[in-house]
């Protein structure tokens, strides 16, 4: 298992797309938090005591899609470039290979989300200071914000990984990851009304605070985490069975 874990870490670190994705995420974060939320921020926003906390949640919400791509590529590249044959013959157990991917993607997602969450207020403050603006005293619910951000970032990456393990085709997995959260669940909302919060990505949005505007009291972030966890476990059971049984091509 240790060998499989080390190999997955090496796969993530020795591929150009990892650095491109992280670079894009950081560039977007610098632009949005330093320039938009800092340098260019409105005087109304500067008087909001939760401006930085909201900014953290918004940044994590926006950038988690990018971190999810790292997990998605870790699986789909195996099939796109036919390296799955190596991965599955070098290890004596397919479950170990899948478990290693889950663990490594989890660690990468948590680290990147943490960096994004920490950089967000720092860069905003830097932008505000650089423009000689005055920010109202801020109230940041550290504990709540931390678990919600980390769960969201991790959850999105896990969703990307499950989709990749189910679909395997890179384009198919990317399309699924891009259209399910917004388009599919958005359309289902018309039918399910407030029950939409029981869908995986809507539940994730509740956790980070972006579903509350639509159905503010439908479900708490904790319950939303349970809902998402249920979907994730279900998804992983199916993905695991298929990963064990399907041909590696």
């Amino acid at each position: 298992m240790i060998a499989a874990l080390k190999a997955e870490v090496l796969k993530v670190l020795t591929i150009r797309s990892t650095y491109v994705i992280v670079g894009i995420a950081l560039a977007i974060e610098i632009f949005v938090t330093f320039y938009i939320s800092g340098w260019q921020t409105s005087s109304v926003a500067l008087h909001q005591p939760d401006m930085l906390a909201t900014g953290i949640a918004q940044t994590v919400h926006a950038l988690s899609l990018l971190t999810a791509l790292i997990g998605l590529f870790l699986v789909t590249h195996e099939f796109r470039y036919n390296t799955a044959a190596y991965s599955l013959t070098l290890s004596n157990n397919r479950s170990k290979v899948l478990a290693a991917k889950i663990i490594v993607v989890s660690v990468v997602a948590v680290i990147l989300t943490l960096i994004i969450a920490i950089l967000s207020p720092l860069l905003s403050l830097l932008g505000i200071q650089a423009h000689h603006l005055h920010l109202a005293t801020q109230s940041i619910p550290y504990k709540s914000l931390l678990w919600r951000c980390l769960f969201y970032g991790w959850g999105y990456s896990m969703a990307g990984l499950v989709i990749a393990a189910l679909v395997r085709n890179q384009i198919g997995a990317l399309v699924t990851l891009f259209i399910v959260p917004g388009t599919i669940e958005g359309l289902l909302m018309l039918w399910l009304k407030h029950h939409v919060v029981y869908l995986p990505f809507s539940a994730l949005n509740i956790i980070i605070g972006h579903g509350q505007g639509i159905y503010p009291n439908a479900i708490t972030p904790f319950h939303a985490a349970l809902v998402f966890g249920g979907w994730l476990i279900g998804g992983w059971v199916i993905a695991w069975i298929l990963f064990i049984r399907r041909d590696a091509a």
Binding site: A3, A4, K6, A7, L10, K11, T14, I15, R16, S17, H77, Y81, N82, T83, A84, A85, Y86, S87, L88, T89, L90, S91, N92, N93, R245, R246, D247, A248, A249
Partner: protein, 303 residues
């Protein structure tokens, strides 16, 4: 020994591999032949547990995945371009070495063996087919495994590369290892393989030694070239012997060189060339696989 027993695989309703059994011995190169679409690659994938199907493959009496380190037992090359195009050749091998618990010093050693040391830092996406094959061979050799399973390793290699591969695999087998290799290059295979497995339309057509395969399926012939060919043709017809005109001479199956020499001498026909021609692997292959082609092309000129 690799013991393959009753491998069967169906794709939807089509039988791709049909109840195939054979053995791959250590100390020998076993060639794996068959027309396009015969099921060679699928058989190899079934052997390695990469495709699901019926039957079993035992490596030294145990399934591959019952070993703690399968990498020590078998090295594979199933596709030439099985790598991420922008991950450098060295990093590609480092990933595989790490996954297989293989010392990282082997990475540079195998790169040196296949002649890719100078290209180690480059992304293999722009490698030629031959260079990609070399990288694939390097990957197969990483753990110095007891068995090599190679699918068309000579594809894309230049003549020098093919000669190197032949010598390398022979020497690898001579060290007590087993080599199972498929190839379309029949002349190359005839020089390299000790044993041959032939399949067609998913069925096992032959599993024997190279010598027996050729001897059992192609009758050796004699070739004679003379100055007065029409005279010799008349003499042969009078004796009821059949012949075929080839290469400015005649090919006969049945009589010996002594008999033909005597007939020519008696008829006053000077002989320029008289020799026995042994059967080739290509002739044996075509004989065995006749009617087993998945894709049959029209004769040349027709469109």
């Amino acid at each position: 020994m690799i013991k393959v027993s009753r491998l069967t695989k169906t794709f939807k309703k089509k039988l791709a591999v049909d109840d195939i059994s054979f053995e791959v011995e250590t100390g020998k190169i076993t060639g794996f032949l068959g027309p396009n679409g015969a099921g060679k690659s699928t058989t190899m994938r079934l052997m390695l547990g990469l495709a699901s199907g019926k039957g079993s493959t035992l490596f030294d009496n145990k399934p591959l995945h019952n070993y703690n380190q399968p990498s020590r037992l078998v090295g594979i090359l199933l596709e030439a371009k099985a790598f991420h195009p922008t991950r450098s050749a060295r990093n590609h091998l480092r990933v595989l070495a790490t996954a297989g618990n293989i010392p990282l010093k082997r990475v540079d050693e195998v790169l040196d063996v296949v002649g890719l040391k100078s290209e180690a830092k480059k992304g293999p996406g722009k490698f030629s087919l031959g260079m990609s094959q070399r990288l694939g061979i390097a990957a197969a050799l990483l753990a110095q495994p007891k068995y090599l399973i190679l699918d068309e390793p000579a594809n894309g290699l230049d003549p020098e590369g093919i000669a190197w591969l032949r010598q390398f695999l022979k020497s690898y087998a001579d060290q007590g290892n087993g080599v199972f290799v498929s190839s379309h290059l029949l002349s190359e295979m005839s020089q390299m393989a000790d044993n041959v497995i032939v399949i067609g339309k998913g069925k096992l057509l032959a599993s024997t030694s190279m010598k027996q395969l050729i001897a059992g399926n192609v009758r050796s012939s004699i070739f004679v070239r003379v100055t007065k060919q029409t005279t010799l043709e008349r003499i042969l017809k009078e004796r009821g012997l059949t012949f075929e005109k080839v290469d400015n001479g005649l090919k006969l199956v049945g009589p010996t060189t002594d008999e033909i020499g005597q007939l020519a001498f008696d008829g006053g026909v000077p002989i320029l060339e008289l020799a026995t021609r042994g059967g080739s692997l290509e002739e044996a292959f075509l004989e065995i696989t006749a009617g087993s082609e998945e894709f049959e092309a029209r004769p040349g000129g027709e469109s």
